[in-house]
């Protein structure tokens, strides 16, 4: 009750932060450059590492979620962001329009120099800092991933979206090719060793059979011949297995370019839609309102805490232990209403 009393006594001071918060939020949104979005949908069809469970129900991560995290990780790297910026024309756009890319505080006249994302840094710095904020990666389901790219023009947004898909594909293929090449090299060595081991075992068996012509080819009835025969069989099996894996690795390497793990269902179009200013106003207004309410609550709490006056008869009795003969609502002037001492 004391808190409310302070609020209503200092209602202008209490309400001012809320009004200011709303005004600043609205002003902030209104000075931002117009934004357009371009959306692409990807069908994700890949095997998620670690998802070797027997059924899909036991999988703990959707393919689209896995791909989403991969894209977001890459977006946070400078080299990937610059590659996308270069390929999508964002860098050249910013070079041609040094002020148009300014957003956030940098978009407010006079504050550009104070903002780290303003035009004070190089274009590369701006691209590396701004690109992650321009791209939203949203899962639409277990297999579908949406890429939403915003930009100062619909053409640029679409170009950046296409570049993002292209560069990501390149990254995935390069990584896959590297893995497959390693597998091919590894299995190639293993096959060569297995082949050598098989040849040696076969030679030993042949020599033994030549020295013992009465012994049958499978070594039946002769312990040494049987042992040599079994060794040949084991090496043969091992060789065949490794050869199969080697061939699979070669096949994977050959197909790596077409194994990005996703397909573009809806390609980004240049006729992107403008970001609704109403929606941004509502979002910023809500944030401004929240911050204003917080500041207001802090101010009222501070005022309440700092108020060391007697507010009513109860305060006088409780704190000072004095007998209250009467309480008068207000003198002089205004509406004056007395109340019995015991009722306040």
């Amino acid at each position: 009750m004391r808190f409310l009393e302070t609020f209503f006594r200092h209602r202008i001071v209490a309400i001012l932060p809320v009004v200011l918060g709303l005004a600043v939020a609205a002003g902030y949104v209104l000075v931002q450059p117009r934004q357009y979005t371009s959306t692409a949908s990807l069908w994700v069809d890949l095997t998620v590492p670690g998802n070797a469970a027997a059924s899909a129900a036991e999988q703990y991560e959707d393919p689209s979620t896995y791909l989403q995290s991969q894209i977001q990780e890459l977006l946070a790297t400078r080299s990937f962001a610059l590659a996308v910026g270069q390929s999508g024309g964002l860098i050249s756009y910013l070079q041609d329009h040094p002020q148009s890319g300014a957003s956030g505080l940098a978009a407010i006249p006079g504050l550009g120099a104070l903002s780290s994302s303003g035009s004070a840094g190089s274009v590369d710095d701006r691209v590396a800092a701004d690109l992650p904020n321009m791209v939203s990666v949203v899962t639409a389901g277990p297999q579908v991933l949406n890429l939403v790219v915003s930009g100062p023009s619909p053409q640029l947004a679409a170009a950046v979206a296409r570049a993002l898909i292209r560069e990501f594909t390149s990254q995935v293929v390069t990584a896959a090719q590297s893995d497959d090449q390693t597998s091919v090299s590894y299995y190639g060595q293993q096959v060569a060793q297995a082949q050598l081991s098989l040849q040696q075992a076969q030679q030993q068996l042949t020599e033994y059979l030549a020295a013992h012509p009465k012994v049958p080819a499978d070594g039946t009835g002769d312990a040494t011949a049987t042992e040599l025969y079994e060794a040949v069989q084991i090496d043969q099996t091992s060789y065949q297995s490794l050869l199969s894996q080697y061939q699979q690795a070669q096949l994977d390497l050959a197909n790596a370019k077409s194994q990005s793990g996703f397909e573009v269902m809806d390609a980004p179009a240049a006729g992107g839609t403008a970001v609704s200013i109403t929606k941004k106003l509502v979002e910023a207004g809500a944030a401004g309102l929240l911050i204003g309410l917080l500041v207001s609550a802090l101010i009222v709490t501070g005022l309440t805490w700092a108020d060391r006056t007697a507010r009513d008869a109860a305060d006088v009795r409780r704190v000072l232990g004095l007998e209250v003969a009467a309480s008068i609502e207000q003198i002089p002037g205004g509406t004056v209403t007395s109340t019995p001492a015991g009722e306040t």
Partner: protein, 244 residues
Amino acid sequence: MSTEAVSSPRLARLHPGARKAGSASVSRAEAAAQARRLVPGELLDGCRQALQRVAAPGVRSYGITSSIRGEGRTSVALGFALVEWLDHERRTVVVDLDFEAPELHRRLDLPDSPGISELVEGHNNVEDFLQRAVGDVWLLSAGPSLDGDAPRCLSRLAQSTVMSQLVEWADTVVFDLPPILGTPTGLEAARLCGTPVMVIRAGVTPLARIKEATDALPAPPPVIVNGVSSSVPRWLRRMMGDVQ
């Protein structure tokens, strides 16, 4: 300010020297109406309740004081005096002892002279220095400005027979005292009168200052809390269970 030849039996005891500020005669009803215009009725109700609580057999004087200035002391003093006359037909003198910032005469639209500062300079009768405020309520003003000589004036008042004359002449004496803190005469003035009553302005006077003032008095005074009107809307207070 008009004077009256009221048909109250008590007025028969009026000292012939009592100063009259006018010559027009008014009825008691008219005087009562005048009195009610001087202060809001709600303030009178508050003073009435306070008097019911602090009144005791033999108590004939009240000193209205406060911790600091601006707490509604003069209004309450005037309210006490008017209630004493309106409700009980007691001849009441309201005495302005706030020599540094006398206010009562302005409220009553009366001149500041004659007053106590002149009264204590010689062997004078109190009755010659009274001004009729309204009905049977009389003002003894502080007098012309004392230019920082308030302590000496108060000291002379304490040594004189003025206080005993007042008590003898009037049924009730209400003193408008200076605040306890921040004035050189506040505490001494409070000690002169019988029953000090402290006015506290809610939301203005710090509790520490109130405590400092009450601790300086010989005994904890009864209190009138002024300005307790809540800024919170009534519907909200009702919702919070703060009002019936």
